[in-house]
Point group: C2
Chain length 121, copies 2
Amino acid sequence: MVHAFDILGDPVRRRILELLADGERAAGDLGAVVQAEFGISQPAVSQHLRVLRDAGFATVRAEGTRRLYAVDAEPLRQVDEWLDPYRHFWNQRLDALATELARGKRERRGAAPTTKGTDTP
Amino acid sequence: MVHAFDILGDPVRRRILELLADGERAAGDLGAVVQAEFGISQPAVSQHLRVLRDAGFATVRAEGTRRLYAVDAEPLRQVDEWLDPYRHFWNQRLDALATELARGKRERRGAAPTTKGTDTP
DNA sequence: TGCTTATATAAGCAGGTGCGCATACTCTCG
DNA sequence: CGAGAGTATGCGCACCTGCTTATATAAGCA
């Protein structure tokens, strides 16, 4: 059994998941992008897709001769949970405001990246 | 430069970070636990600590002959941010999303391409 | 049917990474 | 100062993982 982080340790696989974040995408479509960006072959991409499948990060759906891949978020949720014990490091005393954070997260999007002290309402 | 996930790909390093989640801890202290659990040597642990240091996951503080390690949450926050695009899969209105997903998302294909954190309840 | 497109699998090889062993620092204390 | 704990580093090696090439499977099309 492989840990979620073992899967995410590979930049190609991360990229594939990023491409899949917006929604379903065909294997060849993913392949085209990844091959261009990383300079690897089609089989290489296919192998990564297999790893993602086997680890439960992605699901496949056949449509004709094409294979449509989609994200299965469950393992990513595990990763999210793994981060829980550390989240207070940057959330500080904002634990109570987690609700608000989830509601309007776009506020942080424009905030300074390196600045520790996050927005305080 | 190594990506955060490359660091977290190793189970020993993950364990070290877990041990560090509660607070500062001496290298030897960490070593004792990790050596016991993984059956590896002291230098091996030290090497992992070095990787964590170099990647910014941990900071060291000398106290006498001991080295006290602590978590630096910055890289973990990056990981947290990386998860943002997927968080809606399990965070917001899971049932509604699941319904839409199950019903067939082809409808959305032509409509709204980027659906990040749109809805405001 | 046979050719083509789309994708997956097999086999083999190369580079990286984690490990153990040995050793080098570097404080502290007697 | 010398001994000894606590920790880090250098080196060499085995193994794992990802890559390429070659090929298989399967659907669409003429």
